[in-house]
């Protein structure tokens, strides 16, 4: 029985797809068969971030409509054979996704996959709702910035009341806070919300802090999930997140400003 993780936020542009790609790759590299699904119909991005945009033949909607089988649509990652990507449709609109259709696909995937990562679109409309509806765990990606925090809170309310678990009175979705684009320097200057500030407002368990990093742009440019860049602090932070999620005790790094020596200043990450 697969564990379904939704990566969501409410706010757009905070790092959901970056996170989905990193987490899925991280889990797969640890030996768990993982599928990552793009729920953003019409504005697909996951394939780009994963670097498989030229291998897309069939998509999520094709599978739901029976125009293709899951096997035909799933793209096996070239770097890790435990990782599979199900891209979103670029040409249909959001109504093409149905609760029933999504449920069936997830059920089929659950038979052979250990983890299913659902990359949610921004907003609280159909795509976002369907991405979270069947979830067991939720990674709520938040930037230390007022609109993002407010939107995350809104999304938390929806997770608590509109998911399948909520509707059937089962144990609710486990909610995790992923604070991304964190800049300890600016937090120290009092110009950015701190981890404590965000936790206080959201009242949520902290899964990890991902520092703001130039390496993230390089990763998406080259179609490589950031977690594969072992020199990158953001990449390392995602590795920590995966380990923590799987039950390891990992101390939070990247919350404090790194003490950089002479060489550190030369090799700016």
């Amino acid at each position: 029985m697969a564990r379904i993780i939704v990566v969501t936020s409410g706010k757009g542009g905070v790092g959901k797809t970056t996170t989905s790609a990193a987490i899925a790759m991280g889990l797969a590299k640890k030996g768990h068969k993982t599928a990552v699904i793009d729920f953003d119909v019409g504005l697909r991005n996951l394939d780009l971030i994963m670097g498989c945009e030229r291998r897309v033949v069939y998509d999520f909607v094709n599978v739901i409509n029976g125009e293709a089988t899951l096997n035909q649509a799933l793209i096996k990652d070239k770097r890790c054979n435990q990782l599979f990507i199900l891209p979103a449709s670029q040409t249909r609109d959001k109504d093409a996704l149905t609760k029933e259709g999504v449920g069936k696909v997830l059920e089929e995937l659950s038979k052979t996959f250990k983890y299913i990562v659902c990359d949610s679109p921004a907003g609280i409309e159909r795509g976002a709702n369907l991405a979270m509806y069947f979830a067991d765990d939720a990674f709520v990606v938040t930037n230390p910035e007022v609109s993002s925090v407010r939107d995350s809170d809104r999304m938390l309310g929806i997770l608590a009341s509109k998911s399948k678990r909520a509707e059937s009175g089962d144990e609710p979705i486990k909610e995790y806070l992923l604070l991304s684009r964190y800049d300890p320097k600016r937090v120290k200057l009092g110009a950015m919300l701190s981890v404590e500030d965000v936790q206080e407002i959201l009242s949520l368990h902290l899964l990890g802090v991902i520092p703001e990093s130039e390496s993230v742009l390089n990763a998406s440019n080259s179609g490589t999930p950031i977690i594969l860049d072992e020199d990158s602090d953001a990449g390392q932070a995602y590795s920590d997140v995966v380990a923590r999620y799987l039950g390891e005790e990992v101390e939070h790094r990247f919350i404090e400003e790194a003490k950089k020596g002479l060489f550190g200043r030369l090799f700016r990450n």
Partner: protein, 86 residues
């Protein structure tokens, strides 16, 4: 200048890579956009009809839509199986 360059590891210029990937992708998507939505179904139906008379592969039939300033054309290609001498 030389000492600093010596220490600096050369990072791949990923922006150029990104540009290349996007050019390919967007060119492909532009061509896909103009395609009428009935094409996949049409291809499936045509294949079914052909298969009633000749045994052909699943990918033997292809329907390609093309448009330029003057006209739009629908090009149908059917690859027949190799002729078997009895």
């Amino acid at each position: 200048m030389s000492l600093l360059n010596y220490f600096k590891t050369s990072k791949p210029k990923t922006a150029a890579l990104a540009k290349e990937r996007l050019q390919i992708l967007i060119a492909h998507e532009k061509s896909m956009q103009n395609q009428p939505s009935y094409l996949p179904e049409l291809q499936k139906d045509l294949l079914a009809v052909i298969q009633k008379y000749i045994e052909v592969d699943q990918d033997a039939v292809s329907v390609v839509f093309d448009s330029d300033d003057d006209q739009e054309t629908l090009e149908l290609n059917i690859i027949l199986p190799e002729h078997q001498h009895t």
